[in-house]
C-alpha cells in the first residue's frame, strides 16, 4: 500500500464476524470509507478501544493504554491515573492512518471521551444514554428520545441523536467546554428525573436501570475519563451494526438499528451531525 498509508495491513482474510462471514479486509474498507465523517468526532479526543483479534465470538478486551507495538507516528495523550497509580497513554486518533491502524489491530469498537484533550476536564458534549430494559425495546427508546428532544427544545437546547448500534439510543447536546463533568452530569440527571415524572416508561435512577419494561436515562457517562461509542464506530454484534448519527425525522419506531450496518452506512448521503461541533450551547437557562 506503500505511498497511500503507513499502515501495514495483516491477516486481511481473517473472519471477524463469523455469523456474517465478515473479514478484516471488509472492516478496514468500512473504516476507510467512513473516515471523512468519523475523523471529525475522533479529533483531539482520547480513545478507548475494544479489540476482537480472534473475532466477535470471543470476549474481546478493552484497551485504554496504547499497546507497545504502536507505531511512533500515532499520537498519544498521557494521563496519570490515581486509581491504578500509573500513567495511561491514551491513543488520539487524529489521522486516517491512525484509524486504519486501529482497524488493523481489530479494534472494532472505538469509544471517545466527551471532552477534548486540551480541555480534558470540561466536556464538549452532554450525553443521555437511553437504555431500554426488556421487554422495553428499541421502539420504546425511540419514544423516550423524542420526548427528551422536546423537553430540551423547550429550554432552548438543540440535541442530536444516534443509534448505539445495539438496542439503545444516544442523545447528545454540544456545549461550550466550560462546565465540569459534575455540572453536565447533574444537568443530565435532572432532565432524566423530570422525564421520569412525565412518563411511566422512563426511569432516572441507577438502581432502577434493570427495571423490566423501562427505559433508563443513563447520565453517569458524563464523568471524567468515561467514554461513549464514537459516531460511526462498528459494534461487535451480529450484522456488524454501526452507531449511526440520524436526522430527528429519521427516528421512527419502526427503525431497525441492525439495518444501519457496515454495508449501508457508508452509502448514506450526508452526515446528519455535520456542524454539531461548532454549535456549542450554554446550559444556563435564560
Amino acid at each position: 500500500m506503500g505511498e497511500l498509508t503507513r499502515v501495514e495491513f495483516t491477516n486481511l482474510d481473517k473472519i471477524l464476524y463469523p455469523d456474517n462471514g465478515i473479514k478484516k479486509s471488509q472492516i478496514i474498507e468500512y473504516y476507510i470509507k467512513i473516515a471523512p465523517r468519523m475523523l471529525n468526532y475522533l479529533q483531539d479526543r482520547a480513545v478507548v478501544t475494544k479489540r476482537f483479534p480472534d473475532g466477535i465470538q470471543e470476549e474481546g478486551f478493552y484497551e485504554k493504554d496504547a499497546p507497545k507495538e504502536k507505531p511512533s507516528w500515532i499520537q498519544t495523550f498521557p494521563r496519570y491515573s490515581k486509581t491504578t497509580k500509573k500513567t495511561i497513554n491514551y491513543i488520539v486518533c487524529n489521522s486516517l492512518d491512525a484509524l486504519l491502524w486501529l482497524a488493523n489491530i481489530a479494534a472494532i469498537e472505538i469509544n471517545v471521551m466527551l471532552s477534548r484533550i486540551y480541555s480534558y476536564e470540561n466536556p464538549e458534549l452532554v450525553l443521555f444514554d437511553l437504555d431500554p430494559e426488556p421487554p422495553a425495546d428499541f421502539a420504546n427508546a425511540v419514544e423516550v428520545a423524542l420526548l427528551l428532544r422536546e423537553v430540551l427544545e423547550d429550554i432552548g437546547l438543540k440535541s442530536y441523536v444516534k443509534t448505539s448500534g445495539k438496542k439503545g439510543l444516544h442523545v447528545v447536546i454540544p456545549v461550550y467546554p466550560k462546565y465540569t463533568f459534575k455540572q453536565t452530569r447533574v444537568f443530565a440527571y435532572s432532565i432524566g428525573r423530570y422525564l421520569a415524572k412525565k412518563s411511566d416508561l422512563v426511569v432516572s435512577e441507577l438502581k432502577q436501570s434493570k427495571d423490566p419494561g423501562k427505559v433508563f436515562i443513563d447520565y453517569l457517562q458524563n464523568s471524567l475519563g468515561k467514554t461513549m461509542i464514537c459516531p460511526y464506530s462498528l459494534r461487535a454484534t451480529k450484522y456488524a451494526p454501526v452507531s449511526t448519527p440520524l436526522e430527528w425525522k429519521e427516528l421512527k419506531k419502526t427503525l431497525r438499528p441492525e439495518k444501519l450496518n457496515i454495508f449501508n452506512v457508508p452509502k448514506r448521503k450526508k452526515d446528519p451531525w455535520e456542524g454539531i461541533l461548532k454549535e456549542n450551547q450554554k446550559l444556563e437557562v435564560n
Partner: protein, 266 residues
C-alpha cells in the same frame, strides 16, 4: 499463444472406434476426446546446464538401480506387506475391449446426478451416417440419454450417450463406491435449522444474483499469467518477480484513494 479471445480446443484424432449397440442394432462410431486439460506442467531441469532430469528406479534396500525386466507389481495389503503380481497374471484378467458401447436402457438425462459425471468424449459417425443421424435425432427429440457401459483401454465404465450441439456425446460415469456420501461427513450431522428471517434474507440475495449460466465469464488467471510470462521469456524480456497483490488489497487501495481525495478537499 493467443492472448485475445479464448478459443475452444480443436478436435484431435480418434482414440477408439466401435459400435453403439442397442439390442440388435449397431451404430458404428469413432471416439474423440472432448476434454483438453489445461493445467500447466513443467519439466524439471538441472539448474546448472538446463538439461531435463531423468528418473531411475532405485531399490530401497541396496540403493542399486533396477532394470524393467527385474520389476514386478505389488499390491500393499498391510504395512510393507505385498501381494505380488507378474505381468502375465494381470494381462490375463484384463477386460477385453469388445469395441462396443452397450446401451441397456434410456433415461431422462436430467435425472443423472452430476456428481457421477467423469470424462466426456465426442462420438462421430464411422461410415454409416444414417444410423448415427437417426439415433441422434431421436435422442434430441426425447431429451433422453442411453445408459450402458464401455471398456476403454483396461477399464470398464458406466456411461451415458446423449445429444449435445448436434453430436452424440459419451460421458463416462463414476461407480457409486467412488463417490463419497455426504451423510458421512461429521459436520453435516448436527446442522442447525436457520432462523426463518435469515432464510428470507438469503433467498433475496440469491434472487438478486440470479442469472443465466455463462461459463465464458470465468477465467483461470494463473494460466493467463503463465502464458504472459512464457511469451515475455520467449522474446527475451527480463521478468521481474513481483508478488501479486491480492484482490482485496486492490479494493482497499481504491477505497483509500477515494478517501484521501475527500480528506484533501476539506
Amino acid at each position: 499463444m493467443g492472448r485475445e479471445e479464448e478459443k475452444t480446443p480443436t478436435p484431435r484424432k480418434a482414440i477408439w472406434s466401435g459400435n453403439i449397440s442397442i439390442g440388435l442394432v449397431n451404430v458404428p462410431v469413432k471416439l474423440y476426446p472432448m476434454i483438453k486439460e489445461h493445467a500447466f506442467s513443467f519439466k524439471l531441469l538441472h539448474k546448472e546446464n538446463g538439461h531435463p532430469l531423468k528418473y531411475k528406479r532405485i531399490c530401497s534396500k541396496d540403493e542399486k538401480e533396477v532394470s524393467w525386466s527385474e520389476i514386478v507389481k505389488g499390491y500393499e495389503v498391510g504395512k510393507n506387506e505385498f501381494v505380488v503380481f507378474e505381468k502375465d497374471e494381470l494381462e490375463a484378467i484384463k477386460p477385453e475391449s469388445d469395441k462396443k458401447i452397450h446401451i441397456d436402457k434410456f433415461i431422462d438425462f436430467l435425472s443423472v446426478d452430476p456428481v457421477y459425471f467423469d470424462k466426456s468424449y465426442i462420438l462421430a459417425p464411422d461410415k454409416n451416417e444414417e444410423a448415427y443421424s437417426l439415433l441422434l435425432t431421436a435422442l434430441q427429440r426425447l431429451g433422453k440419454a442411453g445408459v450402458g457401459k464401455i471398456t476403454l483401454r483396461t477399464k470398464e465404465y458406466p456411461a451415458l450417450v446423449y445429444e449435445y450441439k448436434g453430436a452424440l456425446i459419451l460421458t463416462t460415469l463414476r461407480y457409486p463406491y467412488e463417490v463419497v456420501d455426504p451423510r458421512g461427513i461429521e459436520e453435516l450431522k448436527e446442522l442447525k435449522e436457520p432462523n426463518p428471517e435469515e432464510v428470507d434474507l438469503a433467498i433475496k440475495i440469491i434472487e438478486n444474483l440470479s442469472g443465466e449460466f455463462d461459463i465464458t465469464g470465468y477465467k483461470d488467471s494463473f494460466k493467463e499469467k503463465i502464458e504472459e510470462l512464457i511469451e515475455k521469456k520467449m522474446k527475451g524480456e527480463k521478468v521481474v518477480v513481483e508478488k501479486p497483490k491480492k484482490e482485496e488489497v486492490k479494493e482497499l487501495m481504491v477505497a483509500l484513494k477515494e478517501t484521501i481525495k475527500q480528506l484533501e478537499k476539506k
